[in-house]
């Protein structure tokens, strides 16, 4: 079954078409990377999928549950708040700049939503949180505050916080763009270990080598459309001119 389906998604800001008719789907256990130049619409696509942004037209389904569909005029219609609340439990998002709650300790950042939103017991929430921190290699940091952590550590806490709600699919919005190369490595390692455990993930990234090795499928976006998609091998050997230009530029950078 497709965990996520987006059909003919359109979004414009002040007359600028950022997303022009995007369709994609993600199967259970699949890792999909979205690459492309800045301004190609990758982040907007992710923000439409996670409903931080409202799309102008198109469909959005999670596990067959309709979140957004088109009315007879081809305008996007959203499900009721009650239905959306349930749908929102299917996914989590890891932000580029973490957005941890600075006034909460690491453990409280991870346990607060499970306790107060999902109404889990304190014991269960703390047990899950400690398991997650161990996976992230941060078991020593549960009482630290975000400002006491490095960027890489903060991002790993943010990943644990998202996982604590037990989402079916996890989105990453350029999870390492705010980190230096050394810290990037530790975050990518965590994402890779999640992939090894068959966590379903959609990752917007500029880390080409990482996208190539961790993904089942890659989408290359350019100027608001999916310019190319396929397996990493297909994509990195693509004859698509824009794709070649994009990869070529990256190589020059390196």
């Amino acid at each position: 079954m497709n965990l996520l389906e987006m059909n003919h998604v359109q979004k414009s800001f002040d007359g600028l078409n950022v997303l022009k008719d995007i369709s994609l789907s993600v199967k259970e256990g699949e890792v999909l990377s979205i690459i492309g130049p800045s301004g190609s619409g990758k982040t907007t696509l992710l923000r439409c999928a996670t409903m931080l942004e409202t799309m102008d037209a198109g469909e959005l389904n999670y596990l067959g549950n309709k979140a957004v569909w088109n009315n007879e005029h081809g305008k996007a219609v959203y499900a009721t708040n009650e239905q959306l609340k349930k749908i929102k439990e299917y996914y989590g998002l890891v932000f580029q700049s973490f957005h941890l709650f600075p006034h909460y300790s690491v453990i409280k950042n991870i346990t607060d939503a499970p306790i107060h939103v999902q109404k889990k017991s304190k014991e269960e929430a703390y047990r899950t949180a400690r398991e997650l921190l161990k996976k992230m290699g941060l078991e020593e940091k549960e009482n630290a505050y975000p400002y006491q952590l490095s960027g890489g550590q903060q991002q790993r806490v943010a990943i644990a916080r998202a996982l604590a709600l037990n989402p079916k699919i996890l989105f990453f919005d350029e999870p390492t763009s705010a980190l230096d190369p050394e810290l990037t490595g530790e975050v990518l390692k965590v994402i890779r270990s999640l992939a090894d455990m068959h966590m379903t993930m959609v990752i917007v990234t500029h880390e080409m080598a990482f996208a190539r090795s961790v993904s089942n499928r890659i989408i290359f976006m350019d100027q608001g459309v999916i310019a190319e998609q396929g397996t990493p091998e297909e994509l990195f050997n693509s004859k698509n001119i824009r794709m070649k230009e994009f990869l070529g530029k990256l190589n020059e950078d390196n």
Binding site: T50, F101, A113
Partner: protein
Amino acid sequence: MDLNTILLELAKGMQVSIEIFAFTLIFSLPLGLVISFGRMAKNPIISTVTKFYISIMRGTPLMLQLMVVYFGPHYLFGMQLSLSYRFVAAIIGFSLNYAAYFAEIYRSGIESMPIGQYEAAKLLGYSRQQTFIKIILPQVIKRILPSITNEVITLVKDTSLVIVISVMEMFSYAREIASAQGIITPFIIAGAFYYLFNLFVAFIMEKIEKKLSYYR
């Protein structure tokens, strides 16, 4: 009149000053939050009305506002006002005025919060109320505390303004004794009282700031 008698007289007034101070904070701090919501409301009528309210409260003398609150009901509606209304009028006047200042301080704090905090809370499933109470407000309070301290210190000194509606607080007694006896001692004691009161306020606010400095 010896020093003890003066002090005793002034002490009666100090109690009233402290009451005005305390009641004003109790009413104006929450009211200010409500007004700041109005000021930030998407509804243009609500936000315009609140903006106008704040502009009047900040743009006219507090002394005049006290007089309007106290004499207004009589001049406008011919109501007979009891003496005890003086104190009530003082609290109403102060609360309405300070709430306007507090509202703008709250607004500055709320609007300075990064949007990412709201988005993270939304993704984690917090309701709008939970997001504000648990995530936003605690951080806002930390940010605005220095500005709040400023206002609270001003309030201590402003309590002496109720003299215009003949509420007998410390400064009124001081002036009375000073003119009756032809001595300056009551004014010096009054000055010392306001100064020490504010020293105490600053001390408490610093304690709170320290308490909130466990995170950045």
